[in-house]
Assembly symmetry: D3
Homo-oligomer: 234 residues x 6
């Protein structure tokens, strides 16, 4: 049993408040346990210079933590500095979301997915992706409504889950406290077709055997199906 009375393979409660910010194409306040994130989607009718020659659109993800989001220590703003962890995380989110449909259908358009962590208690990169998936869908619906794209692209929904390995135990959806105690921490993004989109395994204390890695993957794929079920309702 875990400190918050969950069994090892139990997700924290997910609470989704859609349209948290009014009048923008997509906005959601997503809470998973005490990890709470505002995701917003906004659109721009141009694409970054590096894809200009390809006839497609783009999804740009950005991730940041609010100064008071963690009780440990104030997080300084990124003014005049760059936080390597934030860059790594937003690349993780952007790459995955760009994989959910054919970007050719978004030609000439950029969708910005902004994930701002209000309160951090573990798994912020996964919860950001899950919220990002919701607002990405909202932004696409907005673009159809505004006649900027002709039809909703065929989406393959994805979700992300963090899984910890401690000895032989596999814990899912880690809190901050749990995260700092496990031997390895694996983030899995997988799709509604049970396909694997991205896996980042960080064995911080001990490396992971192939057998355990395999179990983790199976659990991750299953749990992500449950999350996808939830986020598909919005």
């Amino acid at each position: 049993m875990r400190k918050d009375n969950r069994v090892f393979d139990e997700l924290r409660e997910i609470k989704i408040s859609p349209d948290f910010v009014s009048n923008i194409p997509g906005s959601v306040f997503i809470e998973q346990g005490k990890t709470r994130i505002i995701c917003s989607a906004t659109v721009e009718y141009k694409v970054p210079h590096f894809i200009k020659e390809e006839k497609k659109g783009w999804i740009n993800a950005e991730y940041s933590m609010m100064p008071g989001s963690t009780s440990k220590k104030r997080v300084p703003r990124e003014r005049n500095r760059v936080n390597g962890r934030n860059i790594e995380i937003q690349r993780f989110i952007g790459r995955a979301l760009r994989n959910t449909f054919n970007l050719k259908e978004l030609e000439g358009i950029t969708i910005h997915i902004d994930c701002d962590v209000i309160e951090a208690d573990g798994g912020t990169r996964c919860v950001s992706l899950n919220g990002g998936m919701i607002v990405l869908k909202k932004a696409l619906e907005y673009l159809v409504f505004e006649n900027k794209i002709q039809r909703l692209p065929e989406l393959e929904y994805i979700a992300a889950i963090s899984i910890g390995v401690k000895g032989k135990d596999i814990l899912i959806d880690l809190t901050y406290e749990e995260d700092s105690m496990v031997d390895a921490d694996i983030n899995i993004i997988s799709s509604e077709k049970r396909h694997i989109v991205e896996v980042s395994a960080f064995a911080e204390k001990n490396s992971i055997s192939k057998e355990i890695f395999d179990k983790v993957l199976n659990i991750g794929i299953e749990k992500n199906l449950k999350i996808i079920e939830k986020i598909k309702k919005f």
Copy 2:
């Protein structure tokens, strides 16, 4: 009558959700109409180098808008850039809050007041100050509780209100739409003793006569008393 059915000297509804972020010294989600801001207070047991020789403490305020906070256009993050408006606003907030009690009573301690705009519909600098006042009080109580300061300093509460002048009309607590139509926009910070702390008058379209300026000041002082009454409850 105004678009949102308020009379000219009517405040928008103020909604205060305390302890919005858990486990930090002070946190509040303050909403004034559709302007919605998260203010947090965190503490650090050292002071900036420029006051090291004086035996006192410091209050550092920072202000920022979330990328999706305005429906007009995505606000780019301040990574590697500095937004002059934000700097002006946070100096306005910090200066005023440092005036609410004797900083000698905070020797060796910095309180960080972070104001992050979730949704902007006019008056964000004033609402930030009002929220900042609440969390500053919370942080001081926290410091007493933690035995870092001996007693709660004697606070002179302050509040801020934005007032617009359009021809002969005086409108209080402007929405974004109203703000862009008025001739002049005056922000008044005043205290529970009816004292003036800071006045910034920006006559964007036409300058203001001394007579009207005087009326504006009187109204501002009165309305701030009402706001102070509200924020003192938390």
Copy 3:
């Protein structure tokens, strides 16, 4: 009586050396007591991106202190850093100058007003504005001469003055030493029509009562008329 033998409501001597730098549209070396500032105006035949859609021109003000401008401590250059105080001051100057005539008459043109403090002895933001007003006029005359605009826009002259409150005393045009001793410091920009353009009151030690604030405003408006008289000659 004050240290420099002035009575409370006495301005320091103002000395204006026009065309201090040759061959640019506007340049002045303005000295108010020992505060000495070079203001220059240069023109550019394009406007900032954020007003591109409006058919008007722009005035951009910048303020900086030379490294040796204060005897207290060398002022480090802003290379790779940003000085919040400078940004606040230049926004104050720019906003006020943009209010002196209809920017529609400057369509497609930006006038840069640069204020560089050679020596600082209090009131630099006000003296910068006063010098800036002179060179702005020069730049407009230059544009008429060069046939870039058809006629000199109708200007409403403005000036700025700093006023200190110490107990019941009201001191005008503060030196650096006085500035650090007063209870409150109020900068007033007002126009030749006695209209108020911008008021920034910083009550650093004690807040100000409405009665004193009122007196200060009246004095400020009167003194600014005297300054306007002086700067109008150039």
Copy 4:
């Protein structure tokens, strides 16, 4: 058969020139096909502020591409800018190398691993890690020799390999050209004990089924054993 006549599961030739730069603790010029990287290890007798309270040492990895390293387009230097991809890669390398031994044995010391890409033809992050592993070992030997640490820590060697999935084919050690044609690109870091250290799977075109992912992992672990055999000789 592949363009360079390799079979699908064939590694490119690996050429290792040790001590490429003289007089520093560790240096190697590692070439894997036409991907050519200089890795260097230098030591500093202090640790970053964020681990100061833990009694351990640190490994800092940095990755950069030389301006002429790719024939496609000159890579601009990172002066005054930050390249998100580089940051992601160097975090990947540093995290893995910090996992090869107990950092407690390096108390108070930082080893800097610098990976500079001279020529890029696919797999630069993996080749950097392999070269980094060699120079990390050299640096540890240097520290023993200099009596800065008492004995060589017990190392668990790791290596990295990039694997591509195209339809049902699995290609290992991708060239740049191959990399841009595969459906998914998986980087696997695993250890001499066949343990998984980090897996980053980027399904850029199509997501990957669990079955294929599993095969990829098995191949990756085997190929990394072969690489480890090579790098252990230095």
Copy 5:
């Protein structure tokens, strides 16, 4: 004969206004023709980290052009950018001034020499050095007066002159207009003992023969003696 009626080897008039800024250790307004520069010297009782282990002092020179200093085009401020030309020039000035006396006599002290160009009409780096030499002397006298150093170090005075080569003609002390027409531009710093301190020859259009270079050096050394005579009076 030249445009400004000088003969080829004629210096422009040099005008020196000492103590231009009051209350700092050294300040001068130096004008050479229409090139006009404010040089200031300030002191700091610590040295840069890179000489901490040597028992000596330091001279730090900085050079910048005011935005309105040239009639050609406004010079943007260096906020958030770095101007390579400025860095090259200030390194040229600092290196030469550090050579005028034994820095051991300045142990633990840094003298900052700031050169700010008010108006630029050619030769700004040389005029900056000449003004810098004056204020460096003033700063040393100040340090003796303040008992921070025991005696005035033995100074070998230096001066700088720009010389142009156009065909067979040698022109000294170039104006901006002349500078853009010559084949080569040589800046010579030499000392009162006729020693060469630094020579930078930039053959922008055609390279220079050894014979002409030799003549230029001889003229430079002679003219610098005349300048040294002038600056020694202050």
Copy 6:
């Protein structure tokens, strides 16, 4: 005799490995003693904005040291900082190379010359220039081959040599160790026609008499002829 058994006017061995990086217009690995540098030339079919109005091309040089290039201390990367010495050196290289032919023949084209120091043992700026000369020629040949320019411009080859003065001794091609012991250090760029292109003399310890300076120049011109002979073969 010198530590490495060279006589005073003896060059270190120069080793040139052309086409060190494949598939870019020009690349060379140049070694002069233990100073080892990769120079690369790449082309871009546009010119910097500041020469847009002139009908010519441009040569942009950049210089940087790899983190492990010196055994003394790791060289931090220039991310988010600027290294003044690097800027000075790359300006020195670029200016000289732009003087080797008529840039009108390169209209609309920029050639980037990147010099990256792999190992530094004195004279890196001179060796960079020598390597840069080789790859500049390669880039011009490439442009002819690609029909981007009609013919190879008439080149006046240049080379650079560092010379030290210690008492009455003149040492050429200084190692790092020698460089730190000489009284003065002179870098001479001269051409195959024995013309002087740039001379930077830094008298770090004592200034140099005209007589010695003259000898140094003569030796420099002769030695550069030998270097030019070598680099012309590639």
